[in-house]
Amino acid sequence: MFIYYLDLALRSLRRNKALTALMVLAIALGIGASMTTLTVLHVLSGDPLPGKSAQLYYPQVDPQDIKGMSPSKEPPDQVTLIDGLNLLHAVRADHQALMAGGSVPLQPEQSSLDPFYVDARYTTADFFVMFDAPFLYGRGWTEADGDAKARQVVIAKALNDKLFAGENSVGRTLRMAGTSFRIVGVLDSWQPNPHFYDLNTGSYAYSEQVFVPLQTMLDLHLSRSGSNDCWGNGGGGTDNILPSDECVWLQFWVQLDSPAKAVAYKEFLTHYSQDQKTLGRFQRAPNVRLRNVMQWLDYQMVVPDDVRLQNGLAFGFLLVCLVNTVGLMLAKFMRRAAELGVRRALGASRRALFAQLLIESGVVGLVGGCGGLLLAMFGLWLVRQRPSDYAALAHLDLSMLFITFVLAVCATLLAGLLPAWRACQIAPALQLKSN
């Protein structure tokens, strides 16, 4: 029966080629546009470290002075150097790392290469363990190395490929900002998206090429970038000038393996704020937050507004396309009243007619879905050509592929429901008589 209905559907669709094409095209355009934007949204709001992100927390404390205070205000998005080091040395979490971003001029030994800038992350020893950064060769520096301001560096795979042709470069020397560093580790390809641990660098498709101990960076005044927020007499630091003590400019992350530890850590933050207030460093009442990775990304509204707007626009577009298809199908089915009347008179039940018409609209949906898939692939290709930082990430994955088809078929079946139901209400006798 299904095959027969399919045959009927194809015949009927062939009879009205222009109209069928219009319906299929409308569905394909709607599906294509909405799948393109949905994929971008899906990629951009993904989990940067699946399986690990729930244990990683971003503590915030409020060291600002009393001016402009309001009880509902969020604490600053970063920490001062003093607070960062205090929290780091308190060692209250399973792992903790303090960090900042920057860039350093790199002078390759090979005379064939001119000096160039590389993006750097200045951080502390736990960084690699905490964020599951995979090592290709060697390992990270130890806490003792960091405290000793060791001239050690971990480099990314891309830089290792560029400078050492992918060989094991552990133990070799790298000259950066006029200082020699010993390479202690080479990371394998690693690029969490979004770049959750420091969103100032741009949220997507960003990865540092060198990782240097934070203490070494402070010692050498390596150039930093990113944002710094100051209050009181705090001066804004630029480049190799560190921001003053009254500026927040570092990111501090902790790993807390159980919810109980997270509760305890939040209490610790409150106590810490209280202590600092007693000491006279903090002026405000304790105002702390402890968000995990996904909560942090959500709070930072990391998905660009434009992307969400585009997604809304695309789904609005899909809605119009569906309404359009419902209208056309209704007209089409009503026009076939005579044919349907004959089938009813010959004994076909309403259910059978309904099934037949739904199969017809399902075929439109399937073909439209295929077209939509092609359009979505084309749309994503267009997105990748755009210069935004997330462009390179826009790829259709398997789950999105599946959703495309389900969405297309469901949407058209839904669109076919009303017309099919209306067409089935036809009284057979009336139709036969009018002929």
């Binding site: 003053s244 119009v320 309404v323």
Partner: protein, 418 residues
């Protein structure tokens, strides 16, 4: 022609009429808001920075192995290096003028602080406002092509230098007209005293420039876009930016000459592909997201209108086919071709009329929703009105072909069976 037969016929096609009205309404709501967003983006992208943007480029460079700039001797050394660079650039044949500057409009790298008419005030006080600082020298006016509307420009005697981290008094400053009007709503700002970055030492406003945008092009700078402050101070660190005005038509030549010249002065520095950038490039990269969004929305709107128009054509064609015999009867009873044409046109106008009324409500509703979730302003009535007229026009255009076909149905059809 009376409306009665049209309304009576429409009542027989309730579902179709509702659907097409709904489609028109949705299309109107989406297109109105999308076009409004496009308009806002275009307006943003086209606003002038206040600079003479032609023949202008920026050099960003860093010395390698330079002093740290934390001690006075290091600062002096860095300042000498910066002045050597400036002198060498000013000597280039294709260069008209050069000034050091920590940033330039649309660069998205800024020194943001506050100014106040009271000493020691922080941001958030009513007497002050946010501003973006440009640290530069006396050549900034010719180099950037700024227009002075009151007071005087900086002279060489005003220019100081300081380590980038040092706090130094700023005895003279120049502000934009927008900032001057904000701080001193009644009367001229020239000669008045303000306090910068919460300092308690006064800065005298010696001049007012007509217009100068801040470096931030993103929406976070929206509330102080035109509040720039110029300070005649060279910042000394191992990093420096120079704004360069090439002689008319010599931009490319001047830009090409820069790396060799600077390496000639001192080879211990990093200059890469992004180090020498024309202002046109800076502008393009600052606004590329806005331009991309505008293009995308434009394309989607266009396709949306096409789909809706095609939907009207399709549905009307069906109705024409369905009423073939009735049209024949009307023609046989004496209706002219034009009457049949008008019938379908008026019918479409009625349906589209209902659609646009609904659409206006939807458009305003959507706008209000967008205002609560995104940075949007109220949609001007003009956009909605234009959208309404456009929708009605598209409806009429779409209905014309099937309606003409209907008017060509010969009266003899009435006598035949279908």
């Amino acid at each position: 022609m009376t409306m009665h037969p049209i309304l009576a016929a429409l009542r027989k096609h309730k579902a179709g009429v509702v659907l097409i009205s709904l489609q028109i309404a949705l299309t109107l709501a989406i297109v109105c808001n999308a076009v409004f967003i496009i308009g806002q983006r275009i307006e943003r992208v086209n606003r002038p920075t206040g600079l003479d943007e032609n023949n202008l480029f920026l050099i960003s460079q860093q010395w390698v192995g330079a002093p740290g700039g934390d001690d006075p001797a290091g600062v002096e050394k860095l300042d000498v290096m910066q002045r050597e660079d400036l002198a060498a650039l000013r000597n280039l044949p294709d260069v008209a003028s050069v000034a050091p500057s920590n940033s330039i409009p649309l660069l998205n790298s800024s020194w943001t602080g506050s100014v106040s008419i009271k000493p020691g005030q922080q941001l958030g006080d009513k007497s002050g406002t946010r501003t973006a600082y440009y640290f530069t020298d006396d050549q900034v006016f010719p180099a950037l092509g700024l227009r002075l509307v009151a007071g005087r420009a900086f002279t060489a005697a005003d220019v100081q230098h300081q380590g980038a981290r040092d706090q130094r008094d700023r005895p003279v400053i120049i502000v934009t007209k927008a900032l001057a009007d904000k701080l001193f709503p009644q009367g001229s700002a020239v000669g008045k005293v303000i306090y910068s970055d919460g300092s308690s030492s006064p800065s005298t406003i010696i001049g007012v420039v007509e217009r100068m945008q801040i470096p931030a092009s993103g929406s976070w700078g929206n509330d102080f876009t035109w509040y720039s402050t110029l300070v005649p101070t060279r910042l000394d660190s191992n990093f420096a930016r120079y704004v360069v005005r090439a002689k008319p038509g010599r931009l490319d030549a001047a830009m090409r000459a820069v790396p060799a010249t600077l390496y000639g002065v001192n080879p211990m520095r990093v200059l890469d592909d992004d180090s020498v950038k024309s202002f046109a490039d800076i502008r393009a990269s600052a606004y590329r997201a806005d331009v991309g969004m505008a293009i995308l929305m434009g394309v989607v709107c266009l396709i949306l209108l096409c789909v809706t128009a095609a939907g009207i054509v399709g549905l009307t064609s069906f109705w024409v086919g369905q009423r073939h015999r009735q049209i024949g009867v009307r023609r046989a009873l004496g209706a002219r071709k034009i009457d049949i044409l008008h019938y379908f046109q008026i019918e479409n106008l009625l349906i589209a009329g209902v659609g646009v009324v609904l659409g206006v409500l939807l458009a305003v509703g959507l706008n209000i929703w967008l205002m609560t979730h995104y940075e949007m302003t109220r949609i001007p009535a003009l956009y909605v009105l234009t959208g309404v007229l456009a929708m009605l026009a598209i409806g009429q255009a779409a209905v014309f072909v099937p309606a003409r076909r209907a008017s060509n149905v010969p009266p003899v059809v009435a006598t035949r069976a279908v």
